[in-house]
Amino acid sequence: MLIPEMKLKVNIFGTPDMAATRDGFGAGLIEAAEKDPRIVALSADLTESTRVEAFQKKFPERFIEIGVAEQNMAALAAGFAEYGKIPFLTSYATFSPGRNNEQIRTTLSINNVHAIVCGMHAGVSVGPDGATHQALEDMGLMRMQPHMTVISPCDSEEARKATLAAAAGDGPFYLRFGREKTPVMTAADTPFKIGKANVLYRADSPVCAVFATGPLVHNALLAARELEKEGIRISVTNVHTIKPLDTETIVREAGSAGALVSVEEHQISGGLGSAIAELLVQTKPLPQEFIGVHDQFGQSGTPVELIEHYGMGVSHIVDAVKKAIARK
């Protein structure tokens, strides 16, 4: 059953409100900028689609156009941060942190400055744009960098909170956002703390723990309901912070269930599933199934077609849970 303390919206299994995580970012950015005059936003010629447009209108003097130059944007952001500003650098995730990975590593991460890399259009759900614009490696790239905090919000409301938390934090951040409108599950009073995973759903004595990140958390909840009908008891945890990982919650949930499934719109190597496997193999090795993209690039299509094609639909999660349990 849904955990009441999580204050999830009542309509998430019916006709949920729909909004893109990038929209939550856009709202959060303005809210953060109202609180802190040090915040500036850098755009690489994608102001509208990265949802920085409203910020540009409201704070024109704090909006900085970079042009199509993501490497320059990352190192410029380092300069702004070295001086004492708090830069949000925005583009599509395939370009930033894709193209400018080295500048992020050297000038943001080794340099350990407070700058927020915002990668939009993450995952295959970008849809028709095809493989070149569907970031599937970004969490892995960013998670491997020391000092970097990596957050992958599950819906637009959590994206807003993550943006505010990153603005108030310290050191370099990577925030991952999607293009498509996805179900809004969380509410203003749903808890959000960097590094603290939220158990959203737990049947009595679960036999499998599902750990999901990003908008696919909704599919994980739908799968839990399907499984409940079949009498298979699971828990679903929203792991919005990929790094630092909430080791306590993950070890507890996985440990008591005895099997687990990781769910992410990312290559199965390098992202949430890898992070959990690295943790559990050192603490409590357990059967784990990986929902995500299996060493392939994406392609053009509708978001729903692509999520199904690459094995990240509700039925895939249901099957993965059964497989994980069978491997106990």
Binding site: V40, E61, R62, I64, I66, G67, A69, Q71, N72, A74, A75, L76, A77, A78, G79, F80, A81, E82, Y83, G84, K85, P87, E102, Q103, T106, T107, I110, N111, N112
Partner: protein
């Protein structure tokens, strides 16, 4: 700034010679690192730390200080040596260069040593950082300036051209670039590896004010820095023609000294040459 007196020029040249000696000593102690670049930029770093920059070695985070961004991080021994002689830390600490636990990393890290301002090594991203600082300063109405030391070879990198275009477009007149135009890079001469000329015209086309100086003529370099302050609506770049390994005849003009340190025997000869030159500098100005 007041005109330089001959006695002040002599003092700066003497200081440059001392810094060169420290560079040789620290490279020998490190057993690895770059020799030609640091020696070639010694006169400029001496001028920066002992005349041009508004800074306080006892208060590296001083409000309103000028910023010096070193883009080609591999010549950092000259920066460490100049900083030590300026009073940021004891000159003896220079001998910890590249050693385990040292604040003097092989390539500079901002968080390791106060006063470094940035982290660099991978080439081509320093001008972006300098431009970011310059823009942020202007937002706050700060009067200070940003200097960015670059190599010529790193102009092969696209990131620099992105930064050049952006700084020119944003008319960052509080930014002064300094190019160590020594014509060498690791694989050979710059004009053989990837020709940069006409470099002046390229910067001009990107809306920069361009000055060219003899990078070993300290008063000429200082005058160029002064001229840059009088240029509005444009960033300035000073193309400093330098001799790699300047001050040590065996190293001068030989690109093979780009990325290796002298051994103990070579260092003894080089230090002797520098110390003899100290006498020559004194006699020239008497």
């Amino acid at each position: 700034m007041e005109a330089l007196l001959d006695s002040e020029i002599k003092q700066l040249e003497k200081k440059a010679n001392e810094i060169r000696q420290t560079i040789i000593e620290m490279l020998v102690a490190a057993g690895s690192g770059h020799t030609a670049g640091p020696l070639g930029m010694t006169d400029i770093f001496t001028a920066l730390y002992f005349r041009v920059l508004n800074h306080d070695p006892k208060n590296p985070d001083m409000e309103g200080r000028d910023r010096l961004i070193l883009s080609n991080g591999h010549i950092v021994p000259v920066r460490y040596a100049a900083m030590a002689h300026a009073g940021y830390f004891p000159v003896e600490e220079c001998l910890t260069l590249r050693k385990f636990g040292s604040r003097l990393q092989g390539h500079p890290e901002r968080t390791k040593l106060p006063g470094l301002e940035s982290t660099s090594g991978p080439l081509g991203s320093g001008l972006s950082q300098a431009a970011g600082i310059a823009y942020a300063m202007r937002m706050d109405g700060a009067k200070s300036r940003v200097y960015c030391a670059m190599s010529d070879g790193e102009h092969d990198s696209g990131n620099i051209w992105e930064a050049m275009m952006w700084a020119g477009a944003n008319k960052l007149s509080n930014l002064t670039g300094i190019i160590d135009r020594n014509n060498i890079q690791i694989d050979g001469y710059t004009e053989s590896i990837m020709p940069l000329e006409p470099l002046r015209e390229k910067y001009e086309a990107f809306n920069w004010h361009v000055l060219e100086v003899d990078g070993h003529n300290i008063p000429q370099f200082i005058a160029a820095c002064e001229e840059a302050k009088a240029i509005y609506e444009k960033p300035t770049v000073i193309i400093a023609h330098t001799i790699p390994g300047k001050g040590i005849s065996e190293i001068e003009r030989d690109y093979r000294w780009h990325g290796k340190p002298p051994n103990k025997e070579e260092a003894a000869l080089f230090l002797n040459e520098l110390r003899t030159m100290q006498g020559k500098i004194a006699s020239e100005h008497q």
